[in-house]
Amino acid sequence: MTSTLESRIVEFDVRTDEMLVNMGPQHPSTHGVLRLVLRTDGEVVSEVTPHIGYLHRCAEKIGENLTPRQWIPYTDRMDYLAGMNMNLGWSLCVEKLLGVEAPERGQRLRVIIAEMGRIASHLVGMGAYGLDLGTFSPFLYAFREREKILDLFEQACGARLTYSYLTPGGATADLPVGWTDACLAFLDQFEPIIADYHTLLTTNAIFIKRTAGIGVLTPQMAVGYGCTGPVLRGSGVDFDLRRDGDPLYTRMYADLAYEIICERNGHYPNDQPYPAVPGEAVLGDCWHRFYVRMLEVVQSVRLVRESIRKYAASSGDHGQPIKLFEKLPPGECYLETEAPRGQMGFYVVTTGDAIPWRARARSSCFSNLSVAPELCRGVLLADVPAVVGSLDIVMGEIDR
């Protein structure tokens, strides 16, 4: 990166002074309330300091005063773009502690809902990333499809943003009659549209110029900084908790056919119908992080289709009754799930009461964002939104 910095200074040969620039906390491309203090020399950024905490709502403190069932609505509000996946993480953590497992039908239902949540979340990630780079229409197209998923969620649980649908033991209700048909109809309509997104962004010359080779994150750096999810897989590290995580979680995905999107030996799996990697792209740059998200959407579609088939054939109830004030056995456990933005971990310590002694959330974006100062060293001012946007952060999850 230093070589770029030097070459640009020589190229322009303009005398500039160092300047501190505040970006945020309320700026559209900071994805919430993130304040970035940039030290700039002309157009070149030499240092970025993120300041977080503007959305800190003491979720962990509240978790120490509520039963696990009562804390579910707070998990929704952490990652408000993928509330279903947050519900699932906390539910599984509590189930691990209690030593119970959702019945088969409940597990199939959870996979359907969680993967639909992943599609909805990646659509926002993709659309908002286009917005960061100055293109507006992909944002509208992405939200058009996301709204249809939210309609499906509304039919299932009555809410469009904060669901509280998946709870310890299973789900609050079974899917309504005809829901799976509506879901399949949506997938049939949605799948061809993915090609439009590739035309609009992935293969767009301007988009490639703005993202390829920018903010390169090496695999060693990604792992060292605890980056997870598409940020880690965009750097070529083959790690996904749906396959490598806790047995309680991986069991849900064990008999489903899907691929973990990650570059192996220079190419992506099943990438024939999708655009090729442009020559300018370097593994671990903004373009790769974006591309991994786009391909993951297709895998989620596959997972939902298959899970719906298995859900229809499954037996049992949608959930086990776990009472609101049920006593939790004394113990402690930690469980991570693969949320759309990375590994979402929950840690719970209980003492035998109904209320946990400590409820801790390890958020994926917290670690993902901590790498931003490293990535933004020596880039141009206009590339800072490109780098921060490619991490796909949600401030509610970072600040909790």
Binding site: E60, M221, V237, P329, E332, Y334, T351
Partner: protein, 173 residues
């Protein structure tokens, strides 16, 4: 010899395995050997813990007489380190037990060694624990508050923390 046995043999009394009835087992580590143990876990081929997932703080003070503290533990601050390996796909939990105050009368924060030299991700995680739980990490390059404002008083996740009545003219409670 299994990797765990080698770990226990190498560090002797400084690492003690604890099997929990519910949930994950953990290793209790002495504060002065923590960095050495973590470096061993990271660099040894059989462990290969290249990722520090999470650093959590737990306060085990019983401030509310109606609630039971976690079993068999006196008042103290526990630091829980969740490590995992992206290559071998396994997880290890380490636990460090600190007193609540270095010196009760002077209200001096307890100290733990920083792991920023081993994993850069420890930087933010340790700042968060310092901010909310009040543990001073020795060797941390920039130990300032991360979630609360810089001039905030007290550490909100401690069990005896009391919400301030006023902050810069804003009424609390």
């Amino acid at each position: 010899m299994s990797p765990t046995d080698r770990l226990l043999q190498k560090f002797g009394d400084a690492v003690r395995p604890v099997a929990a009835e519910r949930g994950d087992p953990w290793f209790e580590v002495d504060a002065d050997r923590l960095v050495a143990v973590c470096q061993y876990l990271r660099d040894d081929a059989a462990f290969g813990c290249d990722m520090l997932n999470c650093v959590s703080g737990v306060d085990t003070l019983q401030a509310d007489p109606k609630r039971r503290p976690p079993q068999g533990r006196g008042p103290g601050i526990e630091l829980v380190y969740h490590l995992s390996s992206t290559r071998l796909k396994h997880r290890i939990t380490l636990k460090l037990i600190l007193p609540r105050w270095q010196d009760e009368a002077a209200q001096q924060l307890p100290e733990a060694p920083s792991l920023t030299g081993l994993w850069p991700t420890a930087d933010w995680h340790e700042r968060e624990v310092y901010d909310l739980m009040g543990v001073r990490f020795v060797g941390h390059p920039n130990l300032v508050r991360i979630l609360c404002p810089e001039d905030w008083e007290g550490h909100p996740l401690r069990k005896d923390y009391e919400m301030p009545l006023e902050y810069h003219g804003i009424r609390g409670r």
